[in-house]
Structure formats: C-alpha cells, structure tokens
C-alpha cells in the first residue's frame, strides 16, 4: 500500500533508528527486537542441540565412560533449561513481537520500550546460564530442580542459584512481553477488526499471553523460595522444619504445565495461518478453533497434578485428574479436525510451510496420544520418568512447537527479508529433520516401555536397550544435519534468494499488505477490516483510513471488543534506558545469588534507571511552586 513517495520519506524520517551501534542499542522497532530474539533463540537451539547430540553419543553404547556423570548431568540440565526457558517460549514471544503489529496494520507495539527491555532481560538470562557454564558453574539437576536435591544441603555452591536466577530473568522478560502483546492485541486492532474478526493467530497469541501472565508468577515465586532456602535459610522445602518438598513440585508444575501450552498455542496460530493461505480458502471453524484455544488455556491450569502421579497423592483425586487431563484431547482433536477439514475443502498447495504443517500433524498427534496414555494416573506409574516420557515431551514440544515454528519461519521469511527461501533445500531440510526426528525419538517410546529410566548417564549391557539407543542416536544426528541445512538455506537465501514481492503466497491477513521487508513504520495508512481474511476480498481495493500522524510516532488505539477508533497515542521513541534498566535489574538478580542485601541495594539503580526511562518529554511547568523560571 504505497501512495506517494513524499509521505514515505517523511514516515521514514519519523520512525528511523539512529545509525550504527547507538541505533542497535536504542531501537524500539518491534521487528528488530523480534529478529534479535529469533537469532538468539536459534543460536541457543543449535548449542542445546549439540548438547543433545553429545548425550546421544554417550548413550549409543552401554557402560560408556565417554562422559562423566557430572558432565552428563550438566548437559541434560543445560539442554532442558535452555530449550524450555531460553528457546521455546522466547521464540514464540519473538513471533508475537514481530507479527502482531504487522497483522494489525499497526506501526509498533503498545509499549515499545518495554519490548526492548524484555529482550535485554532475556539476554541477561541467556548470558547468566551460559557464562556460568563457561565458568564451570553449570546447573546439574535437570530443568526442574526438585528440593531437597537442589536445597542448601545437597547442592553446595551456586549451580542451583544460577538456574533459579536464569529463570527469574527470563520470566520477568516473558511477563513484560505478554503484557505488551496482550495490550497490543486488545487495544490496537484496526477499525473493523472486532473480536469476531480476529485471525486465529492473534487469538492464539492473546491467549498464550494471558496464560503467561497467570502462570509465570508461580515459577518466580517458587524459584525465589528456593533461593531463600539456600541463601537465608528459610524452611519452605525442609520437611524437618515444617516445610514440604512437594510444595515445590505443586508450584513448579502450576507453571510447568501451562508452559507447554504457552509453547503450543502460538504454534496453533502459525498452523492456522499457514493452512488458510496454502489451502486457498478461509479456515474452517474459526469459532471452534478459538473456543478450543480458550478451553485448552483454561484446562491447562487444572492439570498440573498429572506431573505428580507418582508422588503418592491420595487416590481419591486420581480419577478426576485422569479425566481432566484426557479432556484436553477434545479441544486439541477438534483443532486438528478443523485444519484437516480446511485442507479437505480447499486447494492444498504443498509449499515448504505446508509441508511443515503436515510434519506437525503427523508428529504432534503421536505426542498427543502418548500424552493421553501418560494422563492415566495408573498407567503413568509405569511411564513417568522413563524414556517414554522423554519421547512424549519431545513429540509434543518439537512436533507441536518447533515444527510449526519452522513452518512459520519459512512462511514469513519473505516478509522479513524480501526474499524467498529455496524450496528444494527447504524440502531436503524438512525431510531430514522430520525423518531424523522420528527415527531418533520414536524408539524412545519403546525404550521407556523396556524399562529405561530417563536422566541416566549410562546403562548396563544386556538390558536389550543397545540397538534402539543406536537408532535414536543415528536419528538425532540426521535431524541435526537437517537443522544445519535449514539454517544454511535461510542464510544463503538472505543474500541470494529470489525477490519475493510483498505477497508471494497470496496470504489472507494484513501483514501481506505492507512491503517486504516491512519498513520501520509498517503501514502508511490504517487499514479497515471487514472480514476474517481482509486480503481476500474479491479484488476490491483494500480500504484504509488516513489521519495517523506521519511527523511524529503515533499509533491508533481502538476499543477492546469492536475496535472502534478511540484516540491517537504517542508511541515511545528509541531510548537507551531499557538497556540501562535491564543492566540494573541484572545486577540485582545476580547479586542476590550471593547476598540478600542485593535486593535492597540493587533497587536504587533500578529506580534511577526507571526515572530516566520515564523522564517527561513535555515542557516544564509554568504554574505551581516548582515552575520554571526563565
């Protein structure tokens, strides 16, 4: 949607970042922030994947002494913590940051500086964990560190503290990001995009944000309690002091279970977008999909106990939790039906993004079904903490989270770069990753059923586990190779890919209305929406409204339900303060590993940074006792 060049130049002058490093440090452009989120997450995915490969090599033969138990335990802890806290959730946040304003035809997020702050803080969490790893202070107790093993008596040193504070970093970042995304979706929709006309993608991001807001306080509370136990000798998790070790598990899984859906629900948004565009018809069952998302979101908060079936809870609750856990299969199954139904009624076109959708369905459904099996309180006693669960969680998280993410990456890559990725190499990467993944992880179901527990650094010969472990190792290696092809394809296409134009796929939603790559101001005019698929409107021109300023950073704020225009909001300009504030917060978090006084002393620089952040840009007062004298 380009009009005249003069307008674009003026918009550019208004929204442009400062050049060079200063611009890099101060930018509040949601696309740049999202891009660095994605790059960081992909880099970490690579590192954590290498750890996985290392562990697979260790397990490929019995009685292997290639890795010491300490190294193996550090590896799976680092792998799990990185993948769960530093890759999956941040990658989904990044997609929200990048796409939500584009899909809304808005010029930026609701709180641009908060977005920058989220990234810096997330980076702080990344550095905390990985610099500690470089210094040989690696957490070594898994991605959930149960006390008393993680308590002051059995985890001397600061490994457990590093883990706990890494979580605090990322969760504060995720909470801030979620408030940002939710406010953007609720208050910055274009005129006409009522709640009923909101694409599934936006619903998914909204619901995931709300789930984050309601679940992550739990993990922040529980890791703070763990640090308090370790640092100032509180007794939350000390049975002999009146505490209870299961309290940790309850609080952890009150977050941990919704966490899975916080990863999965955005993925359903990607899938819905891709299926719609590549089936060439509006998605079937929009309201059914949205209702499913809502019920998954609500149910997810009632299921945490199914991670604790083996702790010996009263039998009375078992039936209830079994039924509730299995019930989540109903909305999930209906979603799958809607996507397949859309393909059935549409004209499916098997471009790479669509291949990933097929890979997603074929893989995720296996994870969902093994989830139904583990949801049985009785059967779980044979399955939990075995390789069956390792298989299950990878099918759910990779099949249900990472495959859609890869699909989304291929789908929106042209929008981000203005170039197309190679289809052929995309297909090769797809085949290697999906094939290798299934070869690597399907045998783990069987290993679990053959009695192999998870988190063992080695196993005795003669248990019958050798062959399947070797197959699993081979599969993981193939998948890693596929990952490298995928990344290489993305990198090469960045410079060599064919120009894509603004809308290479004939997409249905508003992000395809802006240029590719999207300019810093996103859209020149405010689009007006009258259907779920505003880009598919029988060849009529796309309707838009003028009037949002071009000389200053201004965004449109609309009403929550009907998206009626309410007022024009001034949008924050680039600033170094989010970075300074996150440095101050980081200093406090890191200090509080060593002394409780860090909380009190660290509050001062944080306060100072926030004062700088919100320093008024308006003129000095001309009335009142403090008025400016000139």
């Amino acid at each position: 949607m380009t009009r005249d060049q003069d307008r674009l130049d003026r918009l550019d002058a208004t929204w442009r970042d400062a050049p060079g490093l200063w611009g890099f440090l101060t930018t509040v452009d949601h696309k740049r922030i999202a891009a660095r989120y994605i790059v960081t997450a992909l880099l970490l995915m690579f590192l954590a994947g290498m750890l996985a490969l290392d562990m697979r090599l260790q397990l490929s033969v019995p009685e292997n002494t290639r890795m010491s138990p300490q190294l193996f335990n550090e590896s799976f802890s680092l792998h799990g913590s990185t993948m769960l806290f530093l890759v999956s959730v941040p990658a989904m946040e990044a997609m929200a940051f990048w796409l939500v304003p584009l899909m809304l035809g808005a010029r930026n997020m609701a709180f641009p500086r908060l977005g920058a702050f989220s990234y810096w803080l997330y980076l702080g969490g990344v550095l905390t964990l990985w610099i500690a790893h470089a210094m040989d202070i690696t957490p070594d107790l898994g991605w959930f560190e149960y006390p008393p093993l993680s308590g002051p008596s059995y985890s001397p040193g600061h490994r457990a503290d590093i883990w706990a504070q890494m979580i605090t970093f990322t969760e504060v970042a995720a909470l801030a990001a979620s408030v940002n995304v939710a406010a953007t979706i609720l208050k910055m929709r274009p005129p006409g995009m009522t709640l009923a006309r909101m694409p599934v993608f936006l619903w998914a991001m909204l619901i995931a944000s709300i789930m984050t807001i309601l679940s992550m306080p739990s993990i922040m509370l529980v890791t703070s309690m763990l640090i308090a136990d370790r640092l100032v000798s509180t007794h939350f998790f000390s049975p002999a002091g009146g505490g209870d070790v299961l309290l940790f598990q309850h609080l952890f899984w009150f977050f941990g279970h919704p966490e899975v859906y916080i990863i999965f629900i955005p993925a359903t948004g990607f899938i819905s977008s891709i299926v719609e565009t590549f089936s060439k018809r509006p998605i079937f069952g929009h309201s059914a999909l949205v209702m499913s998302l809502m019920s998954i979101g609500a149910l997810a908060f009632g299921l945490w106990v199914h991670h604790m079936f083996a702790v010996g809870l009263p039998q009375l609750g078992n039936g209830f939790y079994t039924a509730a856990s299995m019930a989540i299969a109903v909305p999930a199954g209906l979603q799958i039906f809607c996507w397949i139904g859309t393909m059935w009624a549409g004209r499916p076109w098997l471009a790479t993004p669509m291949l990933w959708v097929l890979g997603f369905v074929a893989t995720f459904v296996v994870g969902g079904l093994s989830g139904v099996m583990t949801a049985s309180a009785a059967l779980d006693l044979q399955l939990t903490d075995t390789y069956f669960v390792v298989a299950h969680l990878h099918y759910v998280l990779i099949g249900g989270g990472i495959f859609p993410l890869f699909g989304a990456f291929c789908y929106w890559y042209p929008k981000a770069t203005g170039r197309l990725m190679s289809e052929r190499w995309g297909q090769i990467a797809f085949a290697l990753i999906v094939g290798g993944f299934n070869l690597g992880f399907f045998p783990m179901h069987l290993l679990g059923l053959m009695g192999m527990p998870r988190r063992v650094y080695t196993y005795p010969a003669g248990m019958g586990w050798e062959t399947l472990n070797q197959v699993a190792t081979a599969g993981s290696a193939i998948a890693v190779l596929g990952g490298l092809v995928f990344v290489a394809n993305a990198l090469i296409s960045y410079w060599r890919g064919a120009p894509s134009g603004p809308d290479p796929w004939g997409g249905s939603t508003l992000e395809w209305a802006s240029a590719s790559p999207a300019p810093s101001w996103n859209v020149a005019y405010t689009p007006v929406v009258d259907s779920l698929t505003p880009m598919w409107n029988d060849g009529r021109p796309l309707r838009a409204m003028d009037g949002i300023a071009i000389e200053r950073r201004e965004v449109l704020v609309t009403s929550v339900t009907d998206a009626t225009p309410l007022y024009r909001q001034l949008s924050a300009s680039p600033s170094i303060w989010p970075l300074i504030a996150s440095l101050a917060v980081a200093a406090m978090f890191l200090g509080s590993i060593f002394t409780p006084w860090a909380v009190a002393i660290g509050a001062v620089p944080i306060g100072a940074a926030l004062i700088g952040w919100f320093w008024p840009t308006r003129p000095r007062a001309s009335t009142g006792p403090l008025r400016a004298r000139s």
Partner: protein, 151 residues
Amino acid sequence: MVRGLTIVLIAACLCGCSKEARDLGPSLPQTRPVDDNDARITAYQDNLYQVSQGGRYFSWYGCSSCHTDTAKGDLNLTDDRWHSGSGFAHVFGSIADRHGRLGFGARVPVEQLWQLTAYVRDLPKHYPEKRRRVELDQSSEPQGSSWSGPQ
C-alpha cells in the same frame, strides 16, 4: 591497564571454577597433608562440594552429637578458637589422632578426613541458622552408629 583488568577477570573466572568444581572420580589423596602448606589443601578447603561432603561425614560419624553449636570450650568448633592450631595439618591431626578411643585416624579413610578437616575449618564462617537448616535437612541420614529410619 586493560591487560591488568583482563588478567584479574581471568583469575576471577578461574577462582570461580575451582570453588565450584565437582571433580568426581578416582584422583583423590591417599596420604595425610604434609604440613599446613600442602599444595593439595586448596582443592579441598576452597571447594564448596568437598566442604559440603565433609559436613555429611561430620554427621555420619557422629561428630555433631558432641560438637554442637552450644558446646563449651574445646568441643565448640564454631567460635574460631583453635586449641591446637588452626592450620590444615593441625586440624587434620586433631581429628585423626587426638580423639582417644574413637581412633578416627584408623577408622576413617584419608580422603574423607581431608573433607572433614576442610568442613571443620570452614564451620566458623557458617551462620548458625544455615547450620541448623542443613542439619534439619539431613536429620534422616545415618548419624553415628544409629539409624532409626527416615523421619
């Protein structure tokens, strides 16, 4: 100046490593410390894991039943007053040779005596509430020659 800073940072990193290191495996000393300056001392005294292991043996071998926080005189190990010297070899000797019929020197393997010594010398630095917290956590573990089952 930059170089100096780099060196300090690297040194800090290395300190971090050795303090937190957890070297499991068979390369542990089989002989007593030669004197208070034995080169092997750092690996125990400045390593949080080794100190903490010493703490577990302290309870397993029943040391904590006499050496309580409120014990008087010699028995009190938390007041930082050492009647026969605070050096590593001195404390090691006190544990191994000067416990009369308890004869720890003959009964406790040398490696564990190293860890015990490191723990005992570290004790004055621990807050009483921290000692109590750890003791409560480990109250179900075997203590001395008794074990009555988990609490």
